[in-house]
């Protein structure tokens, strides 16, 4: 039996279109018998805390927020599940760009150089590429300078602005390398932020995964199952949901998987990124 209370989902308002997207999906869910509502947060830390406290039953989490939720839950003896994700959340890579004429030909050449990254909490533009460089033998801040483009901290790099600023700094010669999501290389080339022939790809990380819908095992099972079923059943051929899928940047929802978060997990352990958040959250929830 499905509860009469709405299933409440949390999402972070990184852009005004988030309201359009979730109002639209909300209508679709209700039309298909799922009583649904959503709450927007200004940052992922607030959303994870609210999720742990039971204010929302499902959260649309960044990969970092997933690890925050999963780590705190594990410490509390609870279990987190990645319900599903966008097809575009799978197998992303990050790249390290250098100027074409820079003479930097391998990762080791970045020693003593200035490397631009995105927001401090961006998995794709900061944490994963810095972890990759560390795996390659260069310790950030010791072997090279990290230049942050801290755009909208708390939004985990959801906004493209930090990466664009990093690339502009590279093109202007203010930094020696810039770390960005692979898709943004194409986007910045198309929009002219990277002038033709101005930059070269020095390195590419292995593939990793991005956002997911997170639920804890103690969430209302029937509602969560219906939520997942409705998402996975959405078709790009359906004119009712296609504009929303386009806005959210996917062609279809796919089952969640957690193997793709290994690189980010390694990064947060190496850089102790979320230790304070996890400790504080565990203390608060106990």
């Amino acid at each position: 039996m499905i509860s009469r209370d709405p299933l409440i989902m949390g999402a972070v308002a990184y852009d005004a279109k988030v309201v359009t997207i979730w109002d639209g999906f909300g209508q679709y869910f209700r039309k298909h018998g799922l009583h649904f509502d959503y709450v927007l947060y200004t940052n992922y830390e607030a959303q994870v805390a609210a999720h742990l406290s039971g204010h929302v039953q499902v959260a649309w989490n960044s990969p970092l927020a997933w690890l925050q939720a999963e780590r705190v839950a594990t410490s509390l003896g609870r279990q987190a599940e990645a319900l599903c994700m966008r097809d575009t959340d799978r197998d992303l890579t990050s790249i390290v760009l250098v100027r074409a004429d820079s003479g930097i030909n391998e990762v080791a050449d970045l020693r003593q150089r200035r490397v631009a990254v995105g927001a401090n909490d961006s998995p794709q533009a900061t944490l994963i590429p810095l972890n990759y460089l560390a795996d390659s033998g260069l310790t950030p801040r010791r072997d090279f300078e990290v230049v942050l483009f801290d755009y909208l901290v708390g939004k985990h790099g959801d906004h493209i602005g930090g990466e664009r600023d990093a690339v502009r700094a590279l093109v202007r010669g203010e930094v020696d390398a810039a770390c960005i999501l692979d898709a943004n290389h194409l986007a910045f080339t198309r929009e002219g932020t990277i002038p033709s022939g101005a930059a070269r790809i020095l390195a590419q990380t292995p593939p990793y995964d991005h956002c997911n819908f997170t639920a804890f095992a103690d969430a209302p099972k029937a509602q969560v199952a219906r939520f997942r079923e409705l998402l996975l059943g959405m078709s790009y051929a359906d004119a009712e949901v296609r504009p929303l899928l386009d806005l959210e940047g996917l062609k279809r929802w796919v089952p969640g998987r957690v193997e793709g978060y290994a690189q980010l997990a390694s990064a947060i352990e190496r850089f102790s990124t979320i230790d304070g958040f996890v400790q504080d959250s565990v203390a608060r929830c106990r």
């Binding site: 097809d87 197998d91 692979d182 194409l186 790009y236 051929a237 996917l250 062609k251």
Partner: protein, 400 residues
């Protein structure tokens, strides 16, 4: 299928070649992509992810470039699965006008393929029978070819001097014409916004009609102010009559009252002014305006004739509209006396008794010509001689 981009970058247009190949391969079809542009594998992976295609990079043996295998994820096929061509279904030509184009075709060009889920537009005139004329395209083409430039088409520099009273009469007539042409601009403009753009040629005819009226307002204003700073009088009766036209919500009735009866009557008026114009500029502006008005009348007759040929029930409704308008205006003065007087003075040309008598005779002849023209047009729309006589007699005394 293989696509070799050689040195072409993905953003430089390489993606178009890949898109084309994937379209040919169809949903679930595979293509191979090669190229030597540095970063091709990075961009292609990201592009495939965004487009919903499966991507696999197969590195080459050392010293040779790798290649990508891309499988069409079918999103494009899904996007267009429920699309409709904006045309009559099953017609021989792919842009045949539909009887009832759905509002969701929106602004799409007739004959275009419209994605399913396009939002409904709030068009009110969506039935072909209400608006369509097979002559619309021809009338539009004629209208475009017949556009004239007020600057060069009218002899603004012609020298003339009129007696004060005759100039005053001309200014009053121009003031009256401007007021009426303003109504004739507003009415088609309002219906353009309500018309489903699927009926493209009708929309174009109405648009050029509005543009014609804008030009008429311009030249009548210039003639009125040629010798005087101030314009003439505007009366309650004249405006009350025009308001019944402006307020008419139904396209067929508005078109009937405005184009067939109003502008039809105006044709006689403009020809009359041309004939007795006291100066070459007045003669010129009304002659050119009359050419345009004749087209407006022709379109009104054409689409109403076509409407009536499939819906005879419209005819009594048109007749009722004239009677209703007559009732509404029964207690108004109709034509302002100053206009009637001005026409008489202009047609007389002086205060001589004999001239005034002749002017009066000419104005009477004008009202007779107007009546005859209206009856002729009404019978063309299938009204009997008796009905036409009755209905013409009920037409507003304000002419338009």
């Amino acid at each position: 299928m293989q696509v070799d981009l050689e040195t072409l970058g993905l953003a430089e247009g390489g993606y178009l070649l890949i898109k084309r190949a994937l379209r040919q391969a169809g949903a679930d079809g595979e293509i191979t992509v090669t190229g030597t542009m540095p970063g091709l594998d990075v961009d292609l992976r990201a592009w495939c992810r965004a487009e919903g295609h499966r991507f696999e990079w197969r590195p080459g043996v050392p010293g040779t470039p790798g290649h990508a295998v891309v499988m069409n994820g079918g999103a494009e096929t899904s996007r267009w699965a429920g699309a409709q061509r904006a045309a009559a279904p099953g017609a021989a030509r792919p842009d045949t006008v539909a009887e009832h184009p759905p509002r969701s075709w929106g602004l799409a060009a007739r004959g275009a393929v419209v994605e399913a889920g396009t939002p409904d537009f709030d068009f009110h005139l969506v039935d072909k029978i209400e608006v369509w004329s097979d002559d619309a395209a021809r009338i539009y083409a004629q209208a475009v070819a017949a556009q004239w430039d007020p600057e060069t088409a009218i002899p603004w520099g012609a020298k003339f001097t009129l007696p004060d009273d005759v100039e005053t009469a001309v200014v009053q007539i121009m003031t009256f014409l401007i007021e009426n042409e303003t109504a004739a601009l507003i009415i088609p403009s309002r219906f353009i916004a309500q018309l489903h753009p699927h009926f493209r040629e009708v929309m174009q005819v109405l648009a050029v009609q509005a543009a014609d009226e804008a030009r008429h307002i311009d030249v009548f204003t210039r003639r009125a102010r040629l010798k005087r700073d101030e314009l003439g009088l505007s009366t309650i009766g004249g405006q009350a009559s025009l308001k019944t036209l402006v307020d008419e919500p139904e396209f067929a009735i508005a078109s009937f009252l405005l184009s067939v009866l109003g502008e039809g009557t105006f044709l006689s008026l403009l020809w009359f002014i041309e004939q007795y114009a006291p100066d070459p500029i007045t003669a010129s502006v009304v002659r050119l305006a009359a050419q345009d008005e004749a087209r407006h009348v022709a379109f009104g007759l054409a689409h109403l004739g076509q409407h009536l040929s499939t819906d005879a029930g419209l005819r009594p409704r048109l007749a009722d509209a004239i009677r209703r308008r007559h009732e509404t205006l029964r207690h108004t003065a109709g034509l302002n006396a100053e206009v009637f007087d001005a026409l008489l003075i202009m047609a007389a040309g002086s205060w001589q008794h004999a001239d005034l008598r002749e002017g009066y005779r000419r104005v009477l002849q004008l009202t007779h010509d107007m009546d005859e023209g209206r009856r002729k047009r009404l019978t063309r729309l299938g009204f009997s001689e008796t009905e036409a006589e009755e209905l013409s007699g009920l037409h507003t005394r304000n002419f338009m």
